[in-house]
């Protein structure tokens, strides 16, 4: 064996700090707690189903017995005249686009302050994080209702843009902050080493590196905003949602049906468009040849106006003899140019189209503190126990019942959609497509149709939100099954277990904790959506609208605080579960 060298014995043991004593595995009490949370959720779901009196059999009976009424009143769907329809669609798209743009533009700086590697200090980081958490916690409807009081009910477009924009910051800002923290820090350090100041390296390295994610989150959020904009139509945000709400109020059921179809188609088109843009951006690998229109453009450009530089040791010169310092108009530059031009043009067109009232915006910003001060102190006028608390519970019940219902359907669908759990590849593909279809369908629109058929009743909301949960839950279940460690499954299978046994003993056990985290996330989503159902007369959202309509600021703030508390508790629980899972 080697003899120790004298200088080594003298050298300080600089590496001794590198290998800390490994931590003991997380005590199982936390895992037990996660299971406890899971069982509580299931029990809560069952209790909610009973307490809300949801009986799927009754629903079926209702639909069958009311079938004549349905066919007579809802069919054939009626559409407004073409010009009016185009106008409504453009208004909706304009508001949704501007809301998303607004949220992305404000989210970037907030995310920069919230991310640990770009923040300016502990105080600004905490402030940014609190803003993000608040925006995430408050449902769109809460923002809309506050803004109705700020801007005045007549400025629906502005209310819609700012309300959806603010609530989008919660999601977009959080995702971007995570992206910034994951960014390769090397380039930033290189610019710092060259004397670059904070905002210089943030712009040139961090923002540039997260650009693809900025676009991806923006597109994703635009989908969500389009769906939410429908129900905001019920509180005066113009566009398809408002037209739908008018049709409902005047009981023109066939027109309601027509708008529902238009909105559904629009949602699906938006999903397809954003998917296409995302793949286009991802597929821009620099090595390979471009295909399609861009490829053609590239070939034409290369054969006519683009002169590729050839000499590595001398700078290329323009025909006028100056050093060429700008890229030539090749396909890539044309694409970038038109991308930005399209974005800016769309923004201006949208601003023009929704007829933003700048004067109101400027005036109200001035008396904003005054409006806010009217919200305090909160007061329930003695109705909290008798009215508001039960409404809050009802909203929570709708969320839990729909989660349970959705889970029952989503688990098998998700299992069949996972390639390593489904019997054949084709079955997996089929169920994957089903999930995509489920996700594209706007559940809030379904809620409207169900309310029309079943009446203003929690059942309609539960079924609609359950439907909405299926898409996401099934996708999450399928994904986590596919990510599970196949070696364990192989081992169990090698031990002679059949497919079903393997599935339950190996796959499910591995993915269960992650699934609990997903379920909690869905509960959070459902609770916020359930608040939005207030426009259909359900739960605490309805009281919110009532208080708003009667300008009862003190009640409004009480209800808002209640909603925020519930959302934040849910958030804390799911943060805890995610920590245990990791």
């Amino acid at each position: 064996m080697a003899t120790l060298r004298p200088e080594a014995a003298e050298a300080p043991r600089s590496t001794s700090g590198r290998r800390p004593v490994p931590k003991r595995p997380t005590p199982s009490i936390h895992v037990i707690a996660v299971w406890g949370i899971f069982l509580t959720l299931i029990a809560g779901g069952v209790w909610s189903m009973f307490d809300l009196g949801i009986n799927l059999f009754d629903v079926l009976v209702n639909i069958i017995s009311g079938w004549d009424w349905i066919t007579e009143n809802l069919f054939p769907p009626q559409f407004p005249e073409a010009a009016r329809l185009v106008e409504l669609i453009l208004t909706t798209l304009g508001i949704v686009f501007l809301a998303t743009l607004f949220s992305v533009i404000t989210s970037v700086p907030i995310a920069i302050f919230a991310a640990v590697n770009t923040t300016t200090g502990a105080i600004s980081r905490q402030t940014a994080r609190i803003i993000i958490i608040f925006c995430r916690a408050a449902p769109d409807l809460v923002f809309a209702i506050i803004l109705i009081r700020v801007f005045g009910p007549a400025n629906g477009a502005l209310i819609g843009i700012v309300a959806m924009g603010l609530s989008s910051i919660g999601m977009v800002g959080k995702l971007l902050a995570d992206n910034i923290e994951d960014v390769d820090r090397g380039p930033s350090e290189a610019i710092r080493a060259a004397g670059g100041a904070r905002w210089q390296w943030i712009q040139s390295t961090v923002i540039l590196q997260i650009m693809p994610q900025i676009v991806a989150h923006g597109l994703h959020r635009m989908d969500i905003n389009l769906r939410n904009s429908v129900l905001l139509g019920f509180v005066g945000v113009p566009g398809l949602g408002q037209a739908l709400s008018n049709a409902m109020n005047t009981r023109q059921w066939d027109l309601v049906m027509g708008y529902t179809i238009v909105i559904t188609v629009l949602c699906i088109l938006m999903e397809l468009l954003s998917g296409a843009i995302r793949t286009q951006m991802m597929g821009r690998d620099s090595g390979g040849r471009r295909r399609g229109v861009l490829g053609l453009l590239e070939r034409i450009a290369q054969n006519s106006w683009v002169h590729a530089p050839t000499d590595p040791h001398t700078a290329q010169r323009t025909p006028k003899g100056r050093v060429r310092v700008a890229p030539q108009w090749d396909a890539g530059r044309i694409q970038r140019f038109f991308g930005w031009a399209a974005l800016i043009t769309l923004a201006f067109l949208a601003i023009y189209d929704v007829e933003l009232n700048w004067e109101v915006l400027m005036n109200t910003l001035g008396n904003f503190p005054d409006v806010v001060s009217r919200f305090f102190p909160p007061d329930d006028h003695g109705h909290y126990a008798s009215r508001y608390f039960p409404a809050l519970v009802e909203t929570l019940q709708i969320a839990m019942a729909s989660l349970l219902l959705g889970l029952f359907v989503a688990l098998p669908i998700g299992a069949f959609a996972a390639r390593n759990a489904a019997p054949t590849k084709n079955i997996a593909t089929f169920f994957r497509c089903l999930i995509v279809a489920c996700r594209a369908f706007p559940e809030l629109v379904l809620a409207i149709v169900l309310v029309v058929i079943l009446g203003f009743d929690a059942t309609a909301g539960v079924i609609a939100l359950a439907f909405g949960s299926i898409g996401l839950l099934a996708k999450l279940v399928a994904d986590s099954l596919e990510e599970s460690d196949t070696r364990v499954q192989d081992a169990v299978r090698a031990g002679g277990a059949d497919r079903v046994q393997t599935f339950f003993s190996a796959t499910v056990r591995q993915t269960a904790p992650a699934t609990v985290a997903h379920i909690l996330y869905q509960l959070d989503v459902n609770f916020r959506a359930a608040t939005l159902l207030g426009v259909l007369g359900l739960g605490i959202g309805f009281d919110l609208l009532q208080a708003s309509a009667r300008s009862r600021y003190e009640i409004l703030s009480l209800l808002i605080i209640n909603i925020l508390v519930v959302v934040i508790i849910l958030e804390l629980i799911s943060m805890y579960v995610r920590k245990v899972v990791r």
Partner: protein, 286 residues
Amino acid sequence: MAQSMTAERATFTGAEERSIQLRNVTKQFDDVTALNDINIDFAPQKINVLLGLSGSGKSTLLRHINGLHKPTSGEVVTLGTEVHRAGAGKLRKLRREVGMIFQHFHLVESMSVLENVCTGKLGSLAGPRLGLFMYPREVKEQAMEQLARVGLADKAFQRADALSGGQMQRVAIARALIQEPKVLLADEPVAALDPVSSATVMNLIGNIAKEDNLTVVCSLHQVEVALEFSDRIIGLRGGQLVMDRDSHSLSLKEAHEIYNAVAVVTEEEIQEQAPELAGIAGEQHS
């Protein structure tokens, strides 16, 4: 007492012939001592190579020179700036004159090569730049000039991730050169490259150092490369200075012997870092 201290400092900082000075520099990361009481001067216009094992403190030492790290105790003076006590503004000013290149290049991959080079000039420009179009024409022309120098003028408008590793490192060199630096710091510039690209990059650094009269401090792993390329070789081990030789008076054999003394892992260190490997290395040497 106080008087003698200031007198000492006056001669210390005033010494023009030394472009970089480290005095009693110790750097502590939590419970790891990355640098342990380092004293070293770097003369201007010389090529200095730091040799040492992984974890011996090479990167840490380099980063003290431009203030990316501040010493836990001790003093660092670079080009007359007292790095250990400099504020953000002073550091920025110093860093304009100190170029740095890295093992993994640290380019922005989605940015064009030309714009990557331009970012090296940000230290002398005010405010952020949203794109290539926002840099002044002179800066862009300088960037083209440097790209021509490193032999990549034809790649100026490609995305940086379209280049090979060796080409990326040459872009990084161009980005450092556009600063018109007096000092060039290089942290294992060829560790991620194949032998052919390594030779190209090292030759490029050597030639440029001569042409531009740069002071180079470069960390390396390969003894041969170090010997061929440097004026002086400095060995680090466990955060301590264990060797300092003029490389012109050194034969390759001598260099290898010294390197082994500096860099060969001992049984004790293997025990510490990778107990499962203990015994293997020992058998090879004994």
